[in-house]
Structure formats: structure tokens, C-alpha cells
């Protein structure tokens, strides 16, 4: 296996310098603010990270586009909203089932449009003369074929420029088909700087056009919504299993394993818990303002974190029996978890990881690694904002640039009839005294060790430098990075698609993850790969980037 480096002897300042040394001055200046050496003061004060800014053209980024964030991430996992991509063919093809969200329709004949992709497949004529007619035709065809409850229209780059008004088309077609809820998203790929813009656009539309359409609550006690859980690899199934065992009722999940009917009545639930803060905090905020539903952050990645999250939810509902039940479930589940954890830990303790992914996973998965004694040397997000790094306390200081200004920020008011605070002010106060953090997220950095490197929007070149310097035992990112990292003899675990395994959430998920990491780190395969520095250490001096 790769010769280990003593990472304690590595000076992060030097690595940072090396990372910056090959850039033109302007780029280096910008990247210097995005590459930060962590230092936690007073428990939660951390250095500032420049995040959510445009990637420099020509630099190979991990990021995707607003359309990907809107259609792919937020709406993609919903099975019964028929999705039409308005644009040329490629965008629809590439977002067709690529995210491996799972879903389980409640009955055999219930609609599931996820394996299905529909595109207006714009041709030259439409690009010149407008594509609205074709869009209308697509909607008619969709209604004729499936008569879905709802249809979402997703705009790709050319749509904004040819002047098509997808919202007007949606309204017109809704008049024609009054029992189908039709709504459009202006999620052209050039908006914002990454998928993140698309999340926001999706949140806005789901809030204005979907949530709140039906006041009929779901049956069951202790009803809450999970926001920002997309059921990759079956994560939501595991969370559902545990919640049910505890006696909790998940009203709706945005949007893993979800249905339209659950969305429209989501405002009748009594609590929102947020998993992926980046992609869905907008919806949590807006639902709180309009309907009075409080929210807090949870994390079901990691056994300890899952237990903590369950306790918090039970405490919120304040029911003795529920709380006792939750404790019982945790105790039961932890027996198997501990058995596997300790066994795996005996082989993985002291090993190192790097995580560069998403807008929450790079944080959440550190918990799982910690549980088996592994240390995170460096981490960063692909499309997060400063609050995901430093905590929501910095939101008022965030400078809004031109790219962000283009994304609509909705003004939300109380719903006169339906606003009902779930807890009184004094109750909220009492909870806060007990250490409850409402509408808050502390961010990733306060939980990371000092001197670790935090890097936003890591690119190809920097990945290479990091690997050469630190030689981590495992690197976590996505499929675009997988083979380039593995060519260097370091295993890569995909945290977008989970390499088509999972679930990793909850207790069973933690067990799966421990075993998976054990398999990866202790396989013989990577021992066959000679790392370049292994036999000829002087080679590192002749690496291309030092030329």
C-alpha cells in the first residue's frame, strides 16, 4: 500500500502555498480566500471562506448547473410529478435517472415517472422562432398519456435566451387542464454559479405552487417533514424504518421517496427537520414564516448523529412515552452497530480521509469516519455557501454578488388563516435554554480540527496536489473524480451515488458504511497498484505541475 506520510508533520501553510503557486496572480488571489486553514476559537468562531463564487473559466470544476440542481437534485426524486425538460435533447438525457434516487410507489399501479424522461427536444426552428408551441404540445401529450397530478417544466440554457415564457405556458395549460397542477422553473443552467442556484429556484416554486394546496393532514402522531433527504441508495427508507419504529410519523420527505400529495399538505405537519441545509433551507425558512412551523438541523449520517437527531425530535414533541421509546430503539439498534463498529475500528483506526462533495455530505460523513477512528485531513463543498462552512451566524455578513442577485428571493408573509405557531414563545425560550438551536446550522468547520484544510470548489489540479502531499487512505468525491484519483493508487468512494450501494443513513446505514470502508481500505487490490512515490520518492520533484 501507499507509503504513509505523517500528516502531523505537514504544514498546511506550505501546502496552501503550493496549491496557489501555479496560478496566475488573479486566480491565486481568489483561490487564496477559498483555501483556508481551519482554526476554531471559542467553540464556533472560524476563519472566513470565500464560497459560492464563479469558477474560473478553463479550470476543471466538480460543479454542475442550475438545471441540475433544480431538476436533478430537488425535484428529481419525486415520483409522481411528471417532469418535462424544455430545451435541446442533451440536458434531459444526462439528467435521466443519473442520480440513483430510489422510490417505492405505494401500490403497483401508482404512477412512477422517475425512469421516464421527457424533453421538448428543441430544434433549430424553435430556437429561432420560439419553443412555446412545442412545449404546449409536450404538455398535452403528457396529460393525454398519463394524466398526472402535476407537471413541472424545467428550462435549460437556450430557453431563457429565445424568450420563451414557461410560466405563461404553464398558466395557459393549467386553464386547459384544471385538474393538473402545472408549474415552470426558470432554472437555466447559466444562472448562479452552480447547482445551488437551482436549489433555490426549486424551493421557491415548490413553496409558491405546491406546498399548502391541501389542508388535509396525514394520519399519525408526531408528524414532521424531513427536508433535504433525497433517498440516494435507500437512505430515506432506513430513516423511515427507524422513525416508524420510534412511533414518529414522517409526513413528507423533500424529496426522497416522496409523492405530490404529501408535498401539498406538508404545511400541516408540526415540525421541519433539515438534513441537507444547503439545498433546502429556503423552504424551511419560508414555511416557518408563512405557517409557523419551526425547523432545526438534524443529521442521520452516522449512528451517533442519528441517535442524537432522534432524541432531539422526540424532545421537541415532548412526549414522555415517545422519548422512552426512542431510547429503547436506539439501545436496540446500537447493539449491532457497536459490534461492527468496534471490529472495523480495530482495522481503520488512525487512517485518514478527504471529503469533497456536495453541500452537506462533506460535513455529515466526517461523523461516520470519526466513529471508526478515522481522521478527516481536508474537506470542502462543491456548491455550498459560507453558512454551510462557518454557520448561519455569518449570513448577515455574506456579500451578495451579481450571480446570486439574479436568483429571486421571495418575500414571505404570514398566512392569515393558517399560520399557527407550533410552540409558544415561552416554550421556545425554555427549549433554547436547554440548548436547543432553532433555525440554525453550525456549519462544518467548527467540528473540524485545527490545521485541517478547508477548500471550496476544489478542482482537478488541486486534487492532485492534495493527494501527492497528504496521501490520504481514502478520498471521497463523485464519479468525475473517481478514476483520476484511483489512477494514483488512492481509493475513491463516491458520496453522490454511493457507488451504487447503500443505504448509509441511520443505524443499518452506518453498519453498511463501516463495512464498506473496511472493504476498501483493507482490500488487496490497491496494494497491487504502485503509487509513484512508493518506489522512486524523488519522482515527486518531476511532477508536471512543478515544471
Amino acid at each position: 500500500m501507499t507509503k504513509k506520510v505523517d500528516f502531523n508533520s505537514i504544514k498546511p501553510e506550505e501546502v496552501k502555498e503550493e496549491l496557489l503557486s501555479k496560478y496566475p496572480v488573479k486566480v491565486a488571489r481568489k483561490r487564496a480566500k477559498q483555501i483556508v486553514i481551519n482554526k476554531v476559537d471559542n467553540g464556533d468562531v472560524v476563519p472566513e471562506v470565500l464560497a459560492n463564487t464563479r469558477t474560473v473559466p478553463g479550470i476543471l470544476t466538480m460543479r454542475g448547473c442550475a438545471y441540475a440542481g433544480c431538476k436533478g437534485v430537488v425535484l428529481g426524486p419525486t415520483r409522481d410529478i411528471l417532469q418535462i425538460t424544455h430545451g435541446p435533447i442533451g440536458c434531459a438525457f444526462y439528467s435521466w435517472l443519473t442520480r440513483r434516487n430510489q422510490t417505492r410507489p405505494k401500490t403497483d399501479d401508482a404512477p412512477n415517472f422517475m425512469p421516464y424522461t421527457m424533453s421538448t427536444d428543441l430544434q433549430e426552428d424553435e430556437v429561432i422562432f420560439g419553443g412555446e408551441k412545442k412545449l404546449k404540445k409536450a404538455i398535452e401529450e403528457a396529460v393525454g398519456l398519463f394524466h398526472p397530478k402535476a407537471i413541472g417544466i424545467f428550462s435549460t440554457c437556450p430557453v431563457g435566451l429565445i424568450g420563451d415564457d414557461v410560466h405563461a405556458v404553464a398558466r395557459e395549460m393549467e386553464e386547459k387542464f384544471p385538474d393538473v397542477n402545472i408549474f415552470g422553473f426558470s432554472c437555466e443552467g447559466y444562472k448562479g454559479v452552480s447547482q445551488s442556484a437551482g436549489h433555490h429556484i426549486a424551493n421557491n416554486k415548490v413553496f409558491t405552487d405546491v406546498v399548502g394546496l391541501s389542508d388535509k393532514p396525514k394520519e399519525g402522531k408526531f408528524r414532521f417533514n424531513i427536508l433535504g433527504e433525497y433517498n440516494i441508495g435507500g437512505d430515506a427508507f432506513e430513516i423511515e424504518r427507524v422513525a416508524e419504529k420510534c412511533g414518529l410519523t414522517i409526513h413528507s420527505t423533500f424529496s426522497g421517496n416522496s409523492e405530490y400529495d404529501e408535498f401539498i399538505s406538508a404545511h400541516t405537519a408540526d415540525l421541519n427537520v433539515v438534513m441537507c441545509h444547503r439545498s433546502i433551507n429556503y423552504l424551511a425558512e419560508m414555511m416557518e414564516k408563512k405557517f409557523g412551523i419551526p425547523w432545526f438541523k438534524v443529521n442521520f449520517i452516522g449512528a451517533e448523529s442519528s441517535a442524537k437527531s432522534l432524541r432531539k425530535i422526540a424532545e421537541y414533541f415532548g412526549d414522555k412515552e415517545l422519548m422512552a421509546n426512542v431510547e429503547k430503539v436506539i439501545a436496540e439498534e446500537m447493539i449491532e452497530v457497536e459490534k461492527v463498529r468496534l471490529d472495523v475500528k480495530s482495522r481503520c483506526e488512525g487512517k485518514t480521509a478527504m471529503l469533497f462533495v456536495g453541500g452537506s455530505r462533506a460535513h455529515h460523513y466526517q461523523d461516520l469516519f470519526r466513529e471508526i477512528g478515522m481522521q478527516t485531513l481536508s474537506a470542502g463543498y462543491e456548491f455550498a455557501h459560507r453558512d454551510d462552512y462557518e454557520g448561519r451566524k455569518v449570513i448577515p455578513e455574506i456579500v451578495i454578488d451579481a450571480d446570486t442577485r439574479n436568483i429571486e428571493e421571495l418575500t414571505v408573509e404570514k398566512d392569515d388563516n393558517r399560520f399557527s405557531p407550533r410552540k409558544s414563545e415561552s416554550e421556545i425560550e425554555a427549549y433554547s435554554k436547554k440548548g436547543f438551536k432553532w433555525s440554525d446550522y453550525d456549519g462544518m468547520m467548527p467540528e473540524m480540527q485545527n490545521n485541517t484544510l478547508v477548500i471550496d470548489d476544489l478542482n482537478h489540479y488541486e486534487t492532485e496536489v492534495l493527494i501527492e502531499k497528504y496521501r490520504p487512505d481514502i478520498f471521497c468525491a463523485g464519479i468525475k473524480e473517481k478514476y483520476v484519483v484511483q489512477k494514483q493508487g488512492i481509493p475513491l468512494k463516491q458520496l453522490h451515488s454511493y457507488d451504487y450501494s447503500g443505504p448509509y443513513a441511520g443505524f443499518k446505514g452506518a453498519i453498511n458504511f463501516y463495512k464498506e470502508i473496511d472493504r476498501i481500505l483493507n482490500t488487496n487490490v490497491f496494494k497491487l497498484v504502485k503509487a509513484p512515490w512508493q518506489e522512486t520518492p524523488e519522482l515527486s520533484g518531476s511532477y508536471a505541475w512543478t515544471k
Binding site: C65, S119, V127, C157, Y190
Partner: protein, 447 residues
């Protein structure tokens, strides 16, 4: 930009479960088949990210494709600055031998003049790295068009007319890295000097690396592309390459060219090897006549499994044309032949090979499924996307072409030559046998 007055009489159908990908993907594949070349897409970053992740899921190799990363203002005012910055960074970081620029729907829609931007860049930067530009609006063409147009643009830009040399060109359509290796092997067995372009056999199916490489090794040498115009003959395989597109026509840039369909099945392979004999003036090496004879032998052995079986062939036109010919040879009846492209000439040829088939151009999987219901089909031959048909019709899928992301070893699928045909034949026979075995209660172990 929009003339509302004009009424479009015929509105085409929307695509449901499409059969095709977009043009810059094809162009990027060609660029990855040139040594030390880096593809750069001019438009928003999403296209290059999607295309990279898509190609990587098939090839399981690093695929670097840069982007000029449009912002909203670039989308409105043009991407000159973005392209210049991107070129600066790509050339600085990779020191490539060539930068291959393909446009996207966005830069095409706003009408960016990429050639002009490149000219300005070269004047400003004094860079001597050659830059190829290929227009790839996906609202005018699909991945096979982007592929062909990139091949033409590269030859146009890089190749010089010279005195005729003693070598041949082999220009294949979008085939697998394994196929490319086979083509090289054939040329070497014919003891002939050949330029294979593009050649992504190593870049997209590479070895484990001893030391870190910025750009995956392998690919057609720039110096080889430069001599393409002076070859004594050119063998061009794949029907999509014979069409002319936005970059013109391949035949205008190749000396003495033989255009033919992908060599799959005895007939088309005979034609291909015949062309090779003619172009090189050499006889078919014995190795290939043996392969041919073995293949003929297996046609007979397997006939009982194939006879009157009804197949759906769906995918890229290059493959569909040749598979239709091959199927008809072995006794399988192609009942639906569907392509994502709209090429009447290809449809004609398919009709000739498979007179009983429903030929569907410009089609998609959902339409094919609607058609196929009640047609008693026995199997599907196509990419992973054909799984939709296979699952809904409960019949086996034999995976060929691109994309194949639900099986291992997609880079190494053999399609071409007697050997490739043999491999497809074995797979089809086994798929039929396995299906029969699994759907019987008897528990056959001899079939």
C-alpha cells in the same frame, strides 16, 4: 431574436426516453482521441459536467473536459472574455498539443463567433498551441453529428496537402476502444502503415499509471493528423460519417476514400477486408480467413437458436444499419430498427437489409415501446437505455454501443470485424438460451 409572426406549421413530437445524446459529447470523444488534446466546451459549465460524468460512467476513466463557464451576463453579452480566460488557463495548466473547442446550444443560440475569438486570442497571447473549433448546436445535430463534424474540423485545421505517401487512413465512427485496438491490429497484420483517427483506445481505456499524468496518454499524434490528406487511400466506416454536416463533408478532405458501414456480419466484413486488400494491395492475412471460417461455422451451429426470432435494434444509426444486416444473415428477423438520428439514407439501407422491419428514424424508446407491444419480440439489441424496453417487454437485452453503464467492461465490448461479430453472436445466442432456461420450470441444463 424571436420572430413571433412566423407560424411553424409542423410541430415535431417531444422526445420521451430519448435515443440520442448531444453533439458536444461526440466532439469531445474525438478530441479525447488525439494525443495530448484537451476538449473545451464553450458555454455554461453544466454541459461539460454532464458530458464528463456521462462518458466516465461508460468508460470508467478520467475524462477532462474544460468549460468556458458562462455567467448570466456572458449569456446575454457574449462569451469572448470567458473563452479567452478559459484558453489561458487550459493552455497554462495542461500545456496541450491541441485545444479542441466545441460549442454548446447556449453559445450557438446567442451566435458567438468562436473563430473570431480564437483569432483574437492567438494574436493577443502569441500562443502557438493550435486550436480547433467545431460548431455543435444540439438543436441541429446529435452526438454522431458532433463526432463527425469534429473529425472533419480537425482534419481541416491540422492536415496539410502533401505528396501522396505510402500509408492509409482509417476513420471509424463512434466505436469502442476495443474496436479501435482491433482496427490497429488489422492494419499491423496487413503490414501497412495506417493513421487511425480518432484513437481513444488508450485514453478512454487506459492502464494503471506509474506516475501521474495530466492528460491520459495515447491518441492519434498531431503529426499523423497532419499527414491524413496525403494518404494513398482512406477507409471510412460508419454510415453517419458519410453525411455532410455543419463542418462540410468528410469526402472533401480525404484522398481516395471508401465509405462503408461498420463491418459487422459476414457481408459487411467481407466488404471491409476487401477494401483493405484493395487499399493496401496486400492479401488478407490468414488469421482473418480463419476468424471468418469460425464465424461461418458458428452461424450454422447457432442457427437453431436464432431462426425466426424477432428482434428490436435500437441506438446509433451506425450500429443499427450494420446489426440489421448481420441479424438478417443469421436468421433473426429485425422487426423494429430505431435510430435517434434522422437520416433517410440510413433508413433506406436498413430497409434493404431488413425489409420486414419497421424502420423508425428520429425516434425514442417510449415510441419504440408503444410500437413493440403486441409484436411478439424476443430480444432487444442496444445500449443500456434499451433496458427500458427489455424490462417492459420481459425480453433479454444484448448490450452494445454507447452508453453501457449497467454492465462492466463497456470499453471492451467487441463489435467490429469477424471477431467482433463472433462476440456479438455468442452474446445473442447466450441471451436467448439464458432467457429460455430461466423461464422454464423444467430446469434444463443442456440447451
Amino acid at each position: 431574436m424571436k420572430a413571433q409572426e412566423k407560424v411553424i406549421e409542423k410541430i415535431a413530437d417531444p422526445a420521451r426516453n430519448t435515443c440520442r445524446l448531444c453533439a458536444p459529447l461526440g466532439a469531445s470523444t474525438v478530441f479525447r482521441g488525439i494525443e495530448n488534446c484537451i476538449p473545451l466546451l464553450h458555454g455554461s459549465q453544466g454541459c461539460s459536467t454532464y458530458i464528463r460524468r456521462y462518458m466516465i460512467s461508460h468508460f470508467r476513466e478520467p475524462v477532462d473536459i474544460a468549460s468556458s463557464n458562462f455567467s448570466e451576463s456572458a449569456a446575454v453579452f457574449g462569451g469572448r472574455e470567458n473563452l479567452h480566460t478559459a484558453l489561458d488557463n487550459v493552455i497554462g495548466k495542461y500545456q496541450p498539443s491541441l485545444v479542441g473547442i466545441a460549442t454548446t446550444c447556449l453559445s450557438e443560440t446567442i451566435g458567438d463567433d468562436v473563430s473570431l475569438y480564437i483569432k483574437e486570442y492567438n494574436e493577443k497571447s502569441k500562443s502557438d498551441v493550435p486550436v480547433v473549433n467545431v460548431p455543435t448546436p444540439s438543436y441541429k445535430g446529435i452526438h454522431t453529428d458532433g463526432y463527425r463534424d469534429a473529425v472533419i474540423s480537425c482534419i481541416k485545421t491540422v492536415s496539410k496537402e502533401n505528396e501522396s505517401g505510402d500509408f492509409i487512413n482509417i476513420i471509424p465512427a463512434f466505436v469502442s476502444p476495443e474496436d479501435l485496438r482491433h482496427l490497429k491490429e488489422i492494419a499491423s497484420d496487413f503490414k501497412t502503415d495506417a493513421v487511425l483517427f480518432p484513437d481513444y483506445s488508450e485514453t478512454l481505456d487506459g492502464e494503471s499509471w506509474e506516475s501521474y499524468k495530466k492528460i491520459s496518454p495515447g491518441g492519434t499524434l498531431l503529426s499523423d493528423i497532419a499527414r491524413i490528406k496525403s494518404a494513398k487511400a482512406s477507409i471510412v466506416i460508419g454510415s453517419s460519417l458519410s453525411r455532410s454536416g455543419l463542418s462540410g463533408s468528410l469526402s472533401d478532405h480525404l484522398p481516395n476514400s471508401h465509405f462503408m458501414n461498420l463491418p459487422i456480419g459476414i457481408d459487411l466484413c467481407d466488404e471491409f477486408f476487401g477494401a483493405f486488400e484493395k487499399a493496401t494491395g496486400k492479401q488478407l492475412p490468414e488469421k482473418y480467413s480463419s476468424e471468418r471460417n469460425r464465424l461461418v461455422d458458428s452461424y450454422m451451429d447457432a442457427h437453431k437458436y436464432f431462426f425466426e426470432k424477432r428482434a428490436i435494434i435500437a441506438g446509433d444509426e451506425d450500429l443499427v444499419v450494420s446489426l440489421a444486416s448481420f441479424m438478417s444473415e443469421i436468421g433473426i428477423v429485425p422487426v423494429i430498427c430505431a435510430t435517434g438520428s434522422d437520416n433517410p439514407a440510413a433508413a433506406e439501407i436498413i430497409k434493404k437489409y431488413a425489409p420486414d422491419a419497421e424502420v423508425m428514424s428520429d425516434s425514442d424508446y417510449a415510441t419504440v415501446l408503444d410500437k413493440a407491444k403486441g409484436m411478439n419480440c424476443d430480444l432487444v439489441i442496444g445500449s443500456s437505455k434499451g433496458f427500458y424496453l427489455s424490462k417492459n417487454l420481459s425480453i433479454p437485452l444484448v448490450r452494445v454501443g454507447f452508453p453501457v453503464h449497467d454492465r462492466f467492461g463497456s470499453q471492451r465490448i467487441k463489435h467490429l470485424g469477424y471477431r467482433g461479430t463472433q462476440s456479438i453472436l455468442d452474446n445473442i445466442a447466450n441471451a436467448i438460451i439464458e432467457h429460455k432456461q430461466n423461464s422454464s420450470n423444467i430446469g434444463y441444463s443442456y440447451l
